[in-house]
């Protein structure tokens, strides 16, 4: 038996999973069961961070991975994220790194802050 906390939603159900039968207990919804099974076989996470930009008004741009990545790849992906500098005024949702490390996941911008000057004017 393995004990887990479900991270799918804020409820944070306390789950137990039988390592052999993969039977899950404690989940309030089916997503919890999926999470527990995944967590046992191939745990994955989303990560959020920032990337450098070449713009003085916005030194860093928030990003995240478009889909969950294998947990053990987190720090490798962070290395890639730290390598990038954004030099175009891209918008939220735009791809910053396509197919990072060949994981079939993109690193995408999660904010329009680079467009702030356009929206608010210069202060």
């Amino acid at each position: 038996m393995k004990e887990l906390t479900c991270i799918v939603c804020p409820n944070g159900c306390e789950l137990t999973i039988d390592e052999k039968t993969l039977e899950v207990k404690g989940n309030k919804c089916p997503r919890g069961a999926d999470f527990a099974v995944n967590e046992l076989k191939a745990p994955s996470r989303t990560i959020s961070s920032t990337v450098k930009t070449s713009f003085k008004d916005v030194p860093v741009l928030p990003v995240r991975v478009s889909k969950e990545i294998p947990k053990e790849k987190i720090f490798e992906v962070m290395k890639e994220i730290n390598r990038v500098t954004v030099d175009k005024r891209i918008k939220s949702g735009d791809v910053v790194i396509a197919n990072v490390l060949g994981l079939n996941v993109d690193v995408i911008a999660t904010s329009d802050i680079l467009l702030n000057e356009e929206h608010y004017g210069k202060h």
């Binding site: 450098k52 030194p59 860093v60 994220i81 730290n82 500098t85």
Partner: protein, 567 residues
């Protein structure tokens, strides 16, 4: 007390581990003891006010870990071969007020301080009270300056553009029978000591003046001339006005040693070069005896005494409008303890300070029991005061001598030296008056000094937009939009004011430097919102990266690297 008798007493108490000898100026204690309390006790026993000799403490503490004094890491030659007429050591209230007074004369003036800002030690770590002097008996130097200093403050505050309010002080008692003894004290202080604003008030008057004072108070000694000022703003203002009048201030400058010849200081070695002053003024606060030692003129000792102060949210300021403290009939030692409750010039309440002897001169650590003691006393003064109203606390160290009085004196053995030492409460009050006398002394010693014709006593301060009328404020913003952009939401400080402070003639381009000059970070959020914003303004102003902005000293950068840079 005769020295033999003192030695007998020391002998019987400390089994020959300590002995005393005397010279022309001092009673010098040597030996080794196991506890610092014993050292203090031995030194206090040696105090003999009749002989006018000072106690020098050379007693070693067994197994002592020596205090590591913070010194600036800068090493350059920016002051090398300077030949000022006067070198002032110490940028506290004493040093800067003297510098400003001397800047009336046609003199080459230089003030150095090891700290990264003026008023970094005791001058920013005190209660900011302009004392009435009612607690002092006749005979001390403190007493002789206090009323004179107090009365100078209206003019000083106006000239230097520093907020000052005479809000009145009440030293309150709970006992009915105290009427006669108090009346005696009041009359004595009023007519013999010259504290002419002193009067005795009864409970009804007291309640009318400040309705939240403890209901049990029956009598209070009232001194309407007592006031409050921001001590660090005043110190900085003295410094800036002196610079405006031609003086030079060098921060991060540490006096390492001195060369003397025939009782004259010839050269002062610092981390920023060798200085050759005609006259040295020692206003080094807790380090005054160390400076005296370098100048071969150590005839007194400083024993540091820590005081902790708590500041409340402005929301609690309705509790009191004055400076009030509860007095106990039990006899206090010759220094005060526990402090009072003060409505500061910025409308917070200030509680404390207490008084605790410490071995270490830079012991600024606060401790929980100090806050406990302060709260115990002050909740007895003001009803409704809550611990949860406290937004910050800090400690300062008083530069006390064993005689518990100021030393305002020419060097005893060294000729071109003046000591302004042992300055503790009411040193802020006395500073302007002391500065007058010290500058006269200096001018006499230098000989043939002319007064300037173009001395400007007025300092142009930074406008406080939050104190302006809406119309005035609007006009300011129309001239400079930065005055419209509020950076500190708790204290309502604009970007324009911050840039003004960065452009002042003693610019201190740090988070704490801006905090002392304008108060962002002193409000209820304690800088959690504005710190990064202030850092950004400093970075833009200096043309550096945000990560390289310092909190205080030059090695206190707020960032160790930028995002994505290698660890």
């Amino acid at each position: 007390m005769k020295i033999n008798k003192l030695n007998e007493k020391l002998n019987s108490l400390y089994n020959g581990k300590v002995s005393a000898k005397e010279d022309e100026y001092s009673i010098i204690l040597t030996g080794e003891l196991e506890s610092y309390d014993d050292i203090l006790n031995a030194c206090n026993m040696a105090v003999d006010k009749k002989s006018h000799k000072y106690v020098v403490n050379n007693i070693k503490l067994l197994n002592e870990v020596k205090e590591k004094i913070r010194i600036p890491s800068i090493n350059d030659k920016s002051l090398d071969n300077a030949h000022p007429d006067v070198l002032v050591i110490g940028g506290g209230i004493s040093g800067t007020s003297i510098l400003r007074e001397l800047s009336r004369y046609d003199l080459d003036l230089l003030l150095v301080d090891k700290e990264c800002d003026l008023a970094n030690q005791a001058s920013s770590r005190n209660d900011g009270e302009i004392h009435p002097g009612v607690d002092l008996k006749k005979g001390s130097l403190k007493q002789s300056y206090v009323v004179r200093g107090n009365r100078m403050y209206d003019r000083i505050a106006k000239e230097l553009y520093v907020p000052f309010r005479r809000i009145g002080q009440y030293a309150a008692f709970c006992e009915w029978w105290m009427f006669l003894p108090l009346l005696f004290v009041v009359l004595e202080r009023k007519y013999i000591c010259g504290v002419d604003d002193t009067r005795l008030v009864g409970r009804r008057t007291l309640r009318k003046l400040d309705s939240r004072l403890n209901h049990k108070f029956t009598w209070a000694i009232s001194n309407p001339m007592s006031g409050v000022i921001s001590p660090y703003e005043l110190t900085i203002a003295f410094g800036e006005n002196a610079v405006q009048n031609g003086a030079k201030v060098s921060l991060n400058t540490y006096v390492e040693s001195m060369d003397l010849k025939d009782g004259v200081i010839e050269c002062v070695h610092t981390n920023r070069g060798n200085i050759y002053p005609k006259l040295v003024i020692n206003a080094a606060g807790v380090f005054a005896d160390d400076v005296a030692e370098m100048a071969h003129d150590r005839f007194y000792s400083i024993h540091p005494r820590k005081g902790t102060i708590a500041i409340t949210d402005k929301k609690a300021n309705y509790l009191i409008n004055t400076i009030s403290s509860v007095q106990s009939v039990k006899k206090n030692k010759n220094h005060t303890k526990g402090g009072g409750t003060i409505r500061t010039v910025h409308d917070n309440l200030l509680l404390g300070p207490d008084a605790v002897e410490t071995r270490y001169k830079e012991n600024f650590d606060t401790q929980r029991n100090s806050i406990d003691n302060i709260m115990a006393k002050q909740t007895n003064t003001v009803e409704g005061l809550k611990r949860s109203d406290i937004i910050t606390y800090f400690a300062g160290v008083r530069a006390a001598t064993f005689e518990e009085d100021f030393i305002l004196s020419k060097g005893k053995r060294t000729k071109n030296l003046i000591h302004v030492a042992g300055i503790q409460s009411p040193g802020l009050t006395t500073a302007p008056a002391v500065a007058l006398d010290i500058s006269k002394m200096a001018v006499e010693m230098l000989g043939d000094v002319k007064e300037k014709t173009d001395f400007n006593p007025y300092r142009k301060g930074i406008p406080h937009i939050n104190e302006m009328s809406l119309e005035e404020r609007d006009a300011y913003i129309k001239k400079n939009p930065d005055y419209g952009k509020i950076i500190c939401r708790c204290e309502e400080i604009s970007k324009g004011e911050i840039i003004d402070a960065l452009n002042s003639n003693i610019p201190v381009e740090t988070i704490d430097g801006i905090k002392r000059r304008l108060r962002p970070g002193m409000g209820r959020c304690q800088g959690t919102f504005c710190m990064p914003l202030v850092a950004k303004i400093i970075a833009e102003h200096k043309g550096i990266e945000i990560k390289d902005v310092c909190k205080s000293d030059e090695d206190t950068k707020i960032g160790i690297r930028n995002k994505g840079e290698n660890e």
